[in-house]
């Protein structure tokens, strides 16, 4: 009966563990609000765009941009931090007054607090706007997955510091000053922490795309440098403690490791709140006692395998670990409430990549707690009989703990923001662009609806089904990756979609989301990344985003190539024809004209052709005059989709897209 009560307590502890894991995961420098707000249309142009982030952005490492509806970049003054607001508000000021139209503001922000990278965008309209400016308030800012280097660095840092702290506290507190394997354990742990802290800086420099010098001088780089400095002290002290007996240098190494954990806590998201820093630091410390302690106990068991088993030490550690576990849960709960906004926040977080990783980690934490309970109730009492059970269970615990360390390192790089869910209610807006695709292995078929299908805010509705049966595919996560064809200056962006099944009848195979990734007109490659278990399937699709109100004229005559002319609302034209338009060698002509009918000089042009059963092909184009480009290409008879993009000298873009049947020769 007593065993059952303890099991119940363990289960409660496990629930606590769920939020424990959320503790260090934190929130990145996400966009909290903007003025103008996302999706609004203003009668008069704003002098500036104010963007308030959840953490102070480091402007030396961050990028901001503004595009008009044609994709032309709007000239901006250097962004400035607004006084007050804790340095969390940045102001973007256009050089010239904004004219009527829809504007998309993109940002790629590095948090000064923790160095994490977040990217996203907002859109707003000015004056007479064609089409609807769709608010994207529910859309999350995009935070890329932490790099492998970042995860490895953090895991090494935590592992090294955990062992140093455990050696100091458990060694002196429970093992009577004995640290098994001291000569090797201490220097290796110290060095591991130092290497881990250095790798974190390298990963940070890579993630923000800046050199070490820039990162080191930036506000975001300072916490990394402080961490490296303290870890160097840890490594030195631990090395000295390994060769000199006694507790003094062991205590110095332990203190230095505790300081390193404090520095790490200030460099995380808790850094914005002193009280949360202390709670986070306590959280780190007790985890070190709990997890690092059983690794030490295993070493002690091995060291005494030919002598009397360390029963007293095991019992002392067991008591210490029990108290540590309670503090782990309590501190984790405080951190979770702060970061996620309570249990409702935890529930929402479970819909994210963060939540998936969290759930896996909780499962491992449950295993660890169960193994701890087993040790306390079964393994330690049997130790007096010389049973090897304790050593075996601790071995499993160490493997589990290492896995949890890796998952924690991953979690700290992920935002716990919930994914956007398109409201089930509201008017049904017809999809402006629909595109279908399947993966190379023809296992998955997708159909993507994009509404309204114009530059700026759009909603995405992706239907994912089995290629053969048409049944919904039980995907775990679906992401759309957006690449503007022929526009290398535009960074690849992505949007995670939310499963449309929750509360939406008949939506089991739908994944939905919002975003402003399709920021400019022209051809785009959109790749659906469908994660199912350990497998990921990629489905590339090509589509065209056209400016609103584009006029298309088609001239087809006997003995003539069919000429297609796209006329923008400003009167500029893009003329195209395929000559001769039958299977075999063809010349694909693209010419731009201004509103007066004169040839319009272009800086570059792109022609993308996509056969009905194949992948998009970006053709080599040759300039024959300032506004006239030609691609020589061999086209097979059949249906082709043709995307055109012409970039004008003022940075604007003329685009066109249509389907053409290439006849038999």
């Amino acid at each position: 009966m007593r065993w059952l009560v303890r099991a119940g307590v363990a289960a409660l502890v496990a629930v606590g563990g769920l939020v424990v894991c959320a503790g260090p995961a934190l929130a990145h420098a996400g966009l909290e609000s903007s003025d103008p707000a996302d999706g609004v249309t203003l009668a008069t142009p704003p002098d500036q765009v104010l963007m308030t982030f959840s953490e102070p952005p480091d402007l030396t490492l961050s990028n901001f941009g503004m595009l008009d509806a044609s994709g032309a970049e709007v000239a901006l003054h250097d962004p400035e931090l607004v006084e007050g607001q804790g340095g969390r508000q940045a102001a973007l000021r256009p050089v010239d007054a904004l004219g009527d139209g829809v504007y998309t503001v993109t940002f790629r922000v590095v948090s000064k607090t923790d160095g994490h990278l977040t990217a996203g965008s907002i859109a707003f309209g000015v004056g007479a706007v064609t089409g609807e400016v769709v608010p994207t308030a529910n859309a999350p800012t995009e935070a890329p997955w932490p790099s492998a280097l970042s995860v490895i660095g953090k895991a090494l840092l935590y592992a090294g510091l955990v062992m140093i702290v455990a050696a100091a506290i458990v060694g002196m507190g429970a093992f009577g000053g004995e640290v098994p394997g001291r000569r090797v354990l201490l220097p290796v742990a110290g060095l591991t922490a130092l290497v881990g802290s250095c790798l974190m800086l390298v990963a940070e420099a890579r993630s923000v795309g800046a050199g070490f010098e820039v990162v080191a001088r930036s506000g975001a780089g300072a916490p990394f440098l402080r961490l490296i400095a303290v870890c160097a002290v840890v490594a030195v002290a631990a090395t000295i403690a390994s060769v000199r007996g006694g507790n003094i240098w062991l205590a110095v190494a332990g203190d230095a490791a505790a300081v390193a954990m404090l520095v790490r806590a200030t460099g995380g998201h808790a850094g914005a709140h002193p009280l949360q820093v202390i709670v986070q630091w306590i959280h780190f410390m007790v985890i070190a006692i709990w997890v690092g302690g059983f690794a030490l106990l295993l070493l002690l068991l091995r060291a005494r395998r030919r002598s009397a088993p360390p029963v007293a030490e095991a019992r002392a550690y067991s008591r210490l670990a029990g108290y540590a576990l309670l503090v782990v849960v309590a501190s984790g709960l405080v951190r979770a409430i702060d970061e996620l906004g309570g249990l409702s926040g935890v529930k929402k977080a479970l819909d994210t990549s963060y939540g998936t990783t969290l759930a896996i980690k909780v499962a491992f934490v449950l295993v660890l707690i169960a193994l701890g309970a087993m040790n306390r109730l079964r393994s330690i009492p049997r130790l007096t009989e010389g049973s090897p059970l304790l050593a075996r269970v601790i071995g499993v615990e160490i493997v589990t703990a290492v896995t949890i360390l890796g998952l924690t390192a991953t979690l700290t790089g992920l935002p716990p923001h919930p994914q956007p869910t398109r409201p089930a209610s509201g008017p049904a807006v017809p999809a402006a662009v629909t595109v279908e695709g399947s993966d190379f292995a023809t296992t998955v078929r997708v159909m993507l609806d994009i509404t309204p299908g114009t530059p700026g805010p759009n909603t995405y509705d992706l239907l994912v089904s089995d290629f053969d049966t048409g049944d919904p595919v039980p995907a775990d996560a679906v992401t759309l990756r957006f690449e503007a064809v022929g526009r290398p200056e535009l960074e690849t962006s992505s949007a995670q979609l939310a499963h449309g099944m929750d509360g939406m009848e008949g939506m089991a195979d739908h994944w939905t989301g919002d975003g402003t990734e399709l920021s400019v007109p022209g051809p785009w490659t959109v790749t659906a990344l469908i994660a199912t278990g350990a497998e990921a399937t990629e489905v590339p699709m090509t589509l065209s985003i056209e400016p609103p109100d584009q006029q298309v004229d088609v001239a087809a005559r006997e003995g003539q190539p069919t000429i297609v002319t796209f006329t923008s609302s400003d009167g500029r034209q893009l003329q195209y024809y395929t000559d001769p338009g039958v299977g075999g060698p063809n010349q694909l002509h693209l010419t731009a004209f201004d509103a007066d009918g004169q040839e319009l000089p272009l800086t570059e042009a792109a022609i993308v052709v996509t056969p009905s059963d194949g992948a998009p092909q970006v053709l080599d184009v040759t300039r024959f005059s300032p506004g006239h480009f030609v691609a020589n290409a061999t086209l097979d008879p059949g249906d082709w989709h043709i995307d055109l993009l012409a970039t004008t000298e003022d940075g604007g873009a003329l685009t066109g897209a249509f389907d053409q049947t290439i006849g038999q020769e």
Partner: protein
């Protein structure tokens, strides 16, 4: 692979328009051109607004190289004779009958655009080649009827 919910209607409209605009000699289904574009966008308006292509009485001939001629060296001198047409360096969508410039196509590859009746095609590889030159309108598109001259020649190895 691309569809829109209005593509069937767009295709139908395009087919009807194509039939309506087909010149004499159109086939029964009205598909005057073998290449039939369909606009895969619901939000765009579409029409056959442009009028007929500009006509011309111009005649074009390739004076050199002559048909079947064997040429020594890799540089081929191109001499053209254009009668009834005016060479213009202006490029515009405002089209004028009999006024335009020349597109040079070698072995099905557009290699140059010129306003000169005499030019050199450099670096032609040994072997037999098909040379086509077209007198095109000021918007880089063909006249109606098309004005094309073609010869086959050989570059000695």
């Amino acid at each position: 692979m691309r569809t829109t919910r209005t593509v069937p209607a767009a295709l139908l409209a395009l087919t009807l328009l194509t039939a309506a605009c087909g010149g004499s000699g159109s086939t029964a289904d009205g598909s005057a051109s073998s290449a039939t574009p369909s606009v895969a966008r619901a939000s765009m308006s579409m029409s056959m607004a442009p009028g007929p292509r500009p006509s011309t009485e111009a005649t074009l001939a390739i004076v050199s190289p002559k048909n079947g001629q064997t040429i020594q060296g890799s540089d081929v001198t191109l001499k053209l004779s254009l009668e009834g047409g005016t060479i213009s360096t202006t490029t515009s969508s405002e089209l004028v009958s009999d006024e335009g410039h020349l597109h040079v196509v070698l072995d099905d590859q557009l290699i140059s655009m010129t306003s000169d009746l005499e030019s050199v095609i450099p670096g032609v590889a040994p072997g037999t080649h098909l040379l086509k030159v077209e007198f095109v309108a000021n918007d880089h598109a063909p006249f109606d009827p098309r004005v094309i001259a073609a010869v086959s020649f050989e570059v000695a190895g």
